[in-house]
């Protein structure tokens, strides 16, 4: 089977870095390149982190393009309390030796999607600023991208950044609005499913049986993430949203989906950034995405652990 050609648009970020590792460990996908975007930490830092993670996994041949530094319209917001000041928790990776490519992340998306119509699967796991900018500059990417997997939103689940809004859509709700209305084939992975998938201290112990820079990295980064989840959300373990989104590109049976009309509140009121589905289709609009609404958590977690074990063995 030919692997899916994947571009990750990402703001690493602890769970972003785990999505990168899962992509590198999975033969079902080929990671073509990475575009970075502000989000969990600054645009500079996420770019450095993406390069450092690729080097950790022996994949520095994969190109990294730096994208937007700030949201389209709103003031910037980053999340060091969740991901640590560097964005990677307690992990101390060496300074990357590679540099990002010349060119903007949004132009990289346009160039790849337009030169290979119907072939690129985009996995967008940060704020959607790069994708929105790319679409406004080149609207034809909506018809030429194969599919767009988005980690973001909270449909019936409460928000994790405001009472109503999930982090990625709250940071750049205007970009999400643009993408949701673009006509791209979207599959959304909201908090409704990701919060059922907890990476537990026992899962970590299982990985740590292998002595490898990969398992050491996962331990150091997720230890911080677990402390955050314990302190703020009373969860023993941590929610790894982004690798789950990546997994759905090749193992769709992890979730069940609904075809829905989903929009995002950009009104600047208390609901700013809230993603909402018109379940009864009051507005008679055509559905604009598939939304993962229920999940088989252990199916995903076993996949993730096996793949990380495999990667760790190959790099131990």
């Amino acid at each position: 089977m030919n692997p899916k050609h994947i571009i990750l648009d990402t703001d690493p970020g602890i769970d972003d870095s785990l999505a990168m590792l899962l992509a590198l460990a999975s033969p079902e996908v080929q990671l073509v390149g990475i575009s970075t975007v502000h989000g969990n930490v600054s645009g500079e830092q996420v770019t450095k982190n993406a390069l450092a993670i690729l080097e950790l996994a022996g994949a520095s041949h994969i190109p990294v393009y730096k994208g937007c530094d700030v949201p389209l319209v709103k003031e910037p917001l980053i999340s060091p309390e969740t991901h640590g000041n560097t964005g990677l928790g307690y992990a101390q990776l060496p300074e990357p030796t590679a540099q990002p490519q010349a060119g903007h992340g949004s132009d990289y998306l346009i160039e790849q999607i337009m030169s290979r119509p119907g072939e690129i699967t985009l996995v967008a796991i940060g704020p959607l600023t790069n994708l929105a900018l790319a679409y406004r500059k080149e609207p034809r990417i909506a018809q030429n991208v194969k599919e767009v997997f988005i980690m973001g939103g909270a449909i019936q689940h409460p928000g994790n950044t405001t009472a109503l809004a999930e982090f990625n859509t709250y940071v750049d709700p205007h970009a999400a609005h643009i993408v949701f209305h673009s006509g791209m084939p979207i599959l959304l992975t909201p908090l409704d499913v990701t919060y059922s998938c907890i990476f537990t201290p026992d899962d970590l112990k299982r990985l740590q049986r292998i002595d490898s820079p990969i398992t050491k990295y996962i331990a150091d980064s997720t230890r911080f993430y677990m402390e955050f989840h314990d302190e703020y959300q009373s969860i023993a373990g941590c929610v790894i949203n982004d690798p789950m989104t990546l997994a759905l590109t090749f193992m769709p049976e992890i979730c069940d989906y609904q075809t829905l009309v989903v929009d995002v509140d950009i009104s600047t009121g208390v609901g700013l950034g809230n993603t909402f589905a018109d379940f009864y289709n009051y507005e008679k609009k055509p559905a604009n995405m598939q939304v993962a609404m229920s999940v088989r958590p252990r199916l995903f977690m076993e996949l993730f652990l096996e793949r990380m074990e495999k990667l760790a063995h190959s790099l131990s």
Binding site: C68, L72, V73, H104, R136, P139, H174, I266, S267, T268
Partner: protein, 317 residues
């Protein structure tokens, strides 16, 4: 005298076309390029019109870069053609341009030029601010490298012309205006408060047509229906020189009364969406982010406009 080098970001549009002609007629100005944007008409028509008007004025060498086809967030309006005609420039039937726009998006053209000549280029946005906002967001160094923006847009104390509160350019892409107003770029704003005081009349157009010139005929054909629109909807004779008035900032700044104010735009989605408001009473304590024109010697500007057009028609720059 040093000439001022400008790029006009535009959605032609009748008064946009008159702005290019005024720039070309003025030795104080060197028009470096036009970048186009969806607004009065689709971006494809805007580009075509830009090329055609440049050709008419013998300025086909000036580059045109096509920009955004859609506002940042809002759906595009559907009413501009009622004002500017289905072509965008009234009844004028300009020949299809043989020239083509550059093979570079307006956002990237603006970024490239501005970074290559930091602090040198003034941009005159006279349509929705979509291109400028995206250039700011794509290239964080852009805002510091632009010399200034002179923007036609907004209605401060004046009523709006598309909603009771909002002016067309700002209402068409309020989110872009919000980004631009808060970018830190030095801005001069030319709102409806002053542009409605600069009315070109049928007599003015007749006076210009005493010169036998394709440019004079173009001004007549372009403005005929525009004037009829103003007569029908707004109840006065003549048409407002909204966009050309931006060039007064170079040609005759003494005609404008400018105030330093903090101006922002409502993006809440409520009835005042697109409304530009100045914090006259300093209730927000935010520092001024622009100079806004609140009065103008209108007839003097119209006279200047006609004189320059006469010189252009007579083949003199």
């Amino acid at each position: 005298m040093s000439t001022k080098r400008i790029i006009i970001d535009t959605d032609p549009g009748v008064d946009d076309a008159l702005t290019f002609l005024l720039a070309l007629a003025s030795p104080e100005i060197q028009l470096e390029a036009l970048t186009t944007v969806q607004g009065n008409v689709s971006v494809e028509k805007a580009t075509r019109n830009a090329l055609s008007v440049l050709k008419l004025a013998g300025a086909g060498h000036i580059p045109v870069a096509q920009g955004c086809s859609h506002p940042l967030i809002k759906e595009p309006h559907k009413s501009g053609e009622a004002v500017h005609g289905s072509s965008g420039i009234g009844r004028s039937n300009l020949a299809s341009p043989k020239s083509a726009p550059m093979n570079l998006h307006a956002i990237d053209y603006l970024i490239e030029r501005v970074l290559a000549e930091r602090g040198e280029l003034s941009i005159f946005p006279i349509g929705p601010l979509t291109n400028i906002a995206l250039a700011i967001r794509k290239e964080p160094r852009f805002a510091k490298a632009v010399k200034e923006l002179v923007i036609m847009g907004g209605a401060i104390r004046s009523g709006g012309n598309v909603t009771p509160l909002a002016e067309f350019n700002i209402h068409e892409d309020p989110h872009a205006a919000h980004v631009v107003f808060n970018s830190g770029i030095p801005i001069t704003l030319i709102p409806l408060d002053v542009t409605y005081k600069c009315l070109l009349t049928a007599e003015d157009v007749e006076r210009l047509n005493r010169i036998d010139s394709p440019i004079a005929r173009f001004v007549r054909d372009a403005t005929a229906d525009y004037m009829a629109f103003y007569k029908q909807y707004e109840g006065f004779d003549g048409c407002a020189l909204h966009d050309p008035l931006t060039l007064a900032a170079i040609l005759a700044p003494e005609l404008l009364t400018l105030e330093e104010q903090h101006v922002d735009v409502d993006i809440s989605g409520g009835v005042s969406t697109g409304k530009t408001y100045a914090d006259f009473m300093k209730v927000t304590k935010k520092p001024a982010n622009m100079k806004v024109a609140l009065d103008v010697k209108g007839r003097e500007f119209v006279e200047l406009f006609i004189e320059r057009m006469e010189r252009l028609c007579a083949g003199v720059k």
